[in-house]
């Protein structure tokens, strides 16, 4: 806030909230571009009444956006000018817009298939039983894909806001892996991708919320298919580390891999590796949800290793159940 009286004193009454640009009481001592903005506001004609404007200022630390509210307080010319640094709010709002646009694209893709195939069936364009049966499969699989996307969006917000109800039970991972592989197989077959099982013969129980863990595994498998080229391989591997008392699951693909600079961030919400964005669109939610499910809900740990052109290995470990 810049209370501005006739002697042109500027006081900085900045709040302690983080991320605000340095507006100091001494315009000469602060960033020159902000000083210039303050001086310009001091020189404004007070007879204009209250004005609200948005100003973008290029500071040494980058571009910042201010909402400037200028209010005259006395007939002699004093005025109060409030400069609110809205840079972060704007960045969040842009991120939200990008997210909405990505989600709508992701929702439209399976919906487009469903609508087109249904119309073809209605119009009698599928002329033999085999084609019709293929069409029913496409509609069913795409409806499932749409359902999974909606589950991802809902669950991430539920877990983040802490309202997710969990149902933890001691059980083994294998049936969950089997179910997820079963559901994802049509998608893999479409790209002639082979799914190989390399499971540990020893089954340890872990404390699991079945529905959530199933969703996490499905997200990992569906990503592996998305980024693996036609004819590739996906290996689902489990092992037990008896020393650390954890059950490990690895999903290893022969896909495009992740650029090293992106690897540390792939589990972050909304993060999308630029190179992979060109291969397949996505919301940047799938892996963030996997991390939440494994780390927040199951007190486990996620990990990733990747080599460009060789493939990626996404995995998680869960503590073994101790009663």
């Amino acid at each position: 806030m810049v209370p501005n009286d006739r002697r042109a004193q500027v006081q900085d009454v900045r709040s302690q909230r983080s991320g605000h640009a340095a507006l100091t009481a001494d315009p000469i001592g602060c960033d020159p571009s902000i000083a210039a903005l303050i001086q310009e506001l001091q020189g404004a004609d007070h007879r204009q009444g209250q004005r609200v404007m948005e100003r973008r200022v290029m500071t040494a630390a980058g571009e910042r956006t201010f909402i400037v509210i200028r209010s005259p307080i006395s007939p002699e010319g004093g005025m109060v000018v409030v400069c609110q640094d809205t840079t972060n709010e704007r960045a969040i709002s842009e991120m939200k817009n990008d997210f909405v646009s990505m989600v709508s694209h992701e929702l439209r893709t399976p919906l487009a298939s469903i609508k087109a195939y249904v119309e073809m069936l209605i119009d009698g364009e599928a002329q033999d039983e085999k084609t019709r049966s293929d069409f029913y499969d496409v509609i069913q699989n795409e409806a499932n894909r749409l359902g999974r996307l909606i589950d991802n969006i809902l669950n991430i917000s539920r877990i983040e806001s802490g309202v997710a109800r969990t149902n933890m039970e001691a059980q083994t991972l294998d049936p969950i892996l089997d179910d997820a592989i079963g559901v994802i197989t049509p998608q893999a077959q479409e790209k002639k991708i082979t799914i190989i099982n390399r499971r540990s013969p020893v089954n340890y129980q872990t404390s699991i919320d079945r529905e959530m863990l199933y969703q996490a595994v499905l997200n990992l498998l569906s990503n592996a298919i998305k980024y693996t080229e036609i004819g590739g391989k996906i290996t689902v591997e489990t092992s037990v580390d008896v020393v650390r008392k954890v059950v490990l699951t690895r999903i290893i693909d022969t896909g495009v891999g992740i650029p090293p600079k992106d690897v540390p961030y792939v589990f972050d919400k909304f993060y999308r590796a630029e190179a992979n964005n060109r291969i397949a669109p996505g919301t940047g939610l799938g892996l963030a949800l996997v991390r939440h499910i494994i780390e927040t809900v199951h007190k486990g740990r996620v990990f990733v290793e990747s080599q460009i052109g060789q493939g990626s290995c996404f995995g998680f470990e869960l503590p073994t159940f101790t009663s």
Binding site: S101, S104, H105, R108, T109, L111, A112, S113, I114, K115, A116, Y117, E119, M120, D123, E125, A126, Q127, T131, V138, E142, E190, R278, I279, A280, P281
Partner: protein
């Protein structure tokens, strides 16, 4: 029987299959490509009468593919229809300059797509 050849480019195999079947049932000869570069190569080689393309594809976007078709004398007269879930992000000037005569947004109706194809081929969309 319609002798005309149409090239369809989309990285979603379901869309590629459904569009191909609709066009084949209507008597067209259909070529398919699942990425932008493959589509461009096929267009130059086969010189189809029309191209139907998605926007978001690996290697080369649908828009860039159409732009490059304009720059090649073998393909610079071929009209294009864009079928995309992101149509509203594209500048109409860019699409017009790239020979894209119609934009259809996904979800789409195969029936409507076929009607649009016929209009474009009959020169009504120019």
């Amino acid at each position: 029987m319609n002798e005309k050849t149409i090239l369809v480019a989309d990285d979603e195999s379901h869309i590629l299959n459904v569009v191909s079947l609709k066009l084949r049932n209507a008597g067209f000869h259909v070529l398919t490509a699942s990425d932008g570069q493959e589509a461009l190569d096929l267009a130059i080689q086969e010189q189809p009468h029309l191209v139907i393309t998605d926007y978001h594809m690996p290697n080369l976007s649908g828009l860039e593919m159409c732009r490059r078709m304009r720059q090649n004398e073998r393909t610079n007269k071929i009209p294009a229809i864009m079928l995309t879930a992101r149509g509203y992000h594209l500048d109409p000037k860019d699409t017009a300059e790239s020979g894209i005569l119609r934009m259809l947004s996904k979800p789409f109706s195969p029936r409507h797509l076929l009607a649009t194809v016929n209009e474009v081929l009959e020169g009504k969309a120019a």
